[in-house]
Every structure is written in structure tokens, then in C-alpha cells.
Symmetry: C2
Subunit: 202 residues, 2 copies
């Protein structure tokens, strides 16, 4: 803004509304809850359960998942390593825009590469909470709600995480939940406890 | 979700929190205010002035502009017609994500092509309010806060809107403000009045 004073036709205003202003208005901190894990591990289900619990507490939230990202913002991306990287890069940037807007942003994507998740973490800094939604591959494969594992085993879906493409487990996530052993309610409660411990909600 | 009932390991929940739920919580509707106009016409300044007025009323808002988009989400895009199209496509998608989250999203980009703006409109439907931030080219060029017009006239900035690239005026915007004749406060007040007329705020 330093050069703006040259202008005689624009009134320059005080600083825009900050993230802190919005957090004060909302009564909670703004963070990214980054859910990562295999296909069918329950990321979106968990994110929506957490969102319901947060809504009931009056919190402002947004869930970014395949339903609203892969068919919209990232519909021009496929599943090659390069496209997966760009997919996660964009999601990290959008999650951070929500954080700047004072919102608890929840992302529910396989996000199989550690390096890509770490880049998203570096954007959000302390506001990044990685939740590893752990679930044994055989349980995910048994669930197979969209029949994708079956197709992947038959070679009909290329580069399928866990079958023909790698999943790199988080080394040091803020939270691990195991949806093969816990109910959705139990996993969601653990996320809520994490948010309390970190001072995001009271 | 129809095929989800096959799973025996996941508890499937009620529908996620809707846009209408969030609007109810926020006490206002969620819309896109799409500010379009020449470089230095005052789009970002106006958007931030409107945001301040809305914040003071307790509204949830987000401003998307060059500061947070061109250096982040869209840093891999240039200024060719193709890249401008993809730039605006992504912004339209992100604005719509904010609307789904119950937020009044304000976008402040030149967005010179009518077809690209109309695509953004088609995403948001009735929730899209186009604000043409009109300002005579010679006034914009006189302001020139970043020295870009000078560089463009010298041929140092290719494809500069208004000089060496086209700007297609909106044919039927929801609002026109003229920042060459009005103060920022006057233009912002017109936007607030538009939001009242449309039932976005009370």
C-alpha cells in the first residue's frame, strides 16, 4: 500500500478486516482439519459428523471433499501424480482462504503424498491439524461403497491408492482415528477433543 | 448415497449442514458480489469498504482479490486469454464454495470477458450479483497506483486490459458504480442498498 498515497482519486481505508476480527466475531479460532486416508476409510463421513457437532455449537465450518471440489474447482484434474499434486495444492490454498475468513475448514481427500500434505501444512502453519483416518485396507476394500476397489483389482481403475498407487502414512499427525474399530461418533468426539485441547473451541 | 447402505462398517448420517442452515445461523443470505472493471478502477478498495460495513453489521464475508488469489491458488496462471479464463473459472468456483458455506463472497478481479463472468454467474445462479465498477480509462490511467498503465503504454506489460487487451463491459449488471465520480463511501452505500433490496441483509 506504500505507493497508494500517490493516488488522488481513491480514499485509502484502514486495514481490511483480519482473521482475528473474524475469529472474535465467531467465538472460535479458524483452522484446517486435514483428513487423510485411503478411499472408503470414512473421511467425508467423519468430516460431516464433526461439522454437525460444530454447527450445533454455533461454529462456522466448511467441508471440502470430492463432492464439491472434484466436480467443480478441480474438474480439470485427473489422478496422475502431477494432477494429484495440483489437486492437493489447490485444496490447501482454498482451505487457507477459509481460515483467513475465520472458518474451520475441513478437507476430506485421500491426499496420499506426504510432501503434498506438508505443503498444505506450510501454508496454514499452526492452524493446520492433520487427522489420519486410519483403516485397514481390507476393511476399506470390503466396504467399497462405490465398487472402486473391485474395479481397481480388475485393472479397470489405474493408479488407485492402496492397490496400484502408494499411500504415504502421516509420520506425525495431530490425531489418528481408526474407523475400522471406532464408530463415527467416537472418531468425531476425538476430533472435537483435539479442537478443545488446541484452544480452537471452548 | 444410495449405494452406501451396502456398507456394514460405517454409520451413515443425516444430510450434511446445508447452505440454508448456515444462512439461518448467520442472519443473512449468502451471495457472490462480483466486482468487475478496469485495473485501478477501485474494485478491491470498494470490496474492502463493503466488507467493513458488513462486518459492522455482523455479517460473514470473504474478499477474493489479487492479493490472496494471484499469489496463491492461481499463482500458476498468467495473463493469456486461456489463463485469464481459467483464473476466472477457479475464482467462480471458490466464490461458490463460500456461498455454500453461508458467506457473502466478494470477488475483485478485472474479469474482462463477458463469457467468463457469465460462467461464474451460472454457477451461483440467483446468488450472483454483478457490480460494474465503472471508471473512465483516463482516470484509471492517471491513478495508476502500481505504474502498470505506464509500463503497458511503453509496451513492457503485454495484454494489459484497456490498452492492449479488451474489456467487455457488463450488459446487464445488477449494479453500476462510477468511482470516477463517487467517493468510496458512496459506492459502498450503493452496494449495501443492493443487498437490502435483494433481501440478502435486513
Amino acid at each position: 500500500m506504500a505507493d497508494a498515497v500517490k493516488s488522488t482519486n481513491i480514499t485509502w481505508h484502514e486495514a481490511p478486516i483480519t482473521k482475528e476480527d473474524r475469529e472474535r466475531m465467531n467465538g472460535h479460532k479458524a483452522v484446517v482439519l486435514w483428513f487423510t486416508g485411503l478411499s472408503a476409510c470414512g473421511k467425508s463421513t467423519l468430516a460431516h459428523a464433526v461439522e454437525k457437532a460444530l454447527y450445533d455449537r454455533g461454529c462456522r465450518t466448511a467441508v471440502l471433499d470430492g463432492d464439491n471440489i472434484r466436480h467443480g474447482l478441480n474438474k480439470n484434474l485427473g489422478f496422475s501424480p502431477q494432477d494429484r499434486e495440483e489437486n492437493i495444492r489447490r485444496i490447501g490454498e482454498v482451505a487457507n482462504l477459509f481460515v483467513q475468513a475465520g472458518v474451520i475448514a475441513m478437507t476430506a481427500f485421500i491426499s496420499p503424498y506426504r510432501a503434498d500434505r506438508d505443503k498444505a501444512r506450510s501454508l496454514a502453519g499452526d492452524a493446520f491439524l492433520e487427522v489420519y483416518v486410519k483403516c485397514d485396507l481390507d476393511i476399506c476394500e470390503q466396504r467399497d461403497p462405490k465398487g472402486l476397489y473391485k474395479k481397481a483389482r480388475a485393472g479397470l481403475v489405474p493408479e488407485f491408492t492402496g492397490i496400484s498407487a502408494p499411500y504415504e502414512e502421516p509420520l506425525n499427525p495431530e490425531l489418528v482415528v481408526d474407523t475400522g474399530k471406532e464408530t463415527v461418533e467416537e472418531s468425531a468426539q476425538k476430533v472435537i477433543e483435539l479442537l478443545k485441547q488446541r484452544g480452537v473451541i471452548v
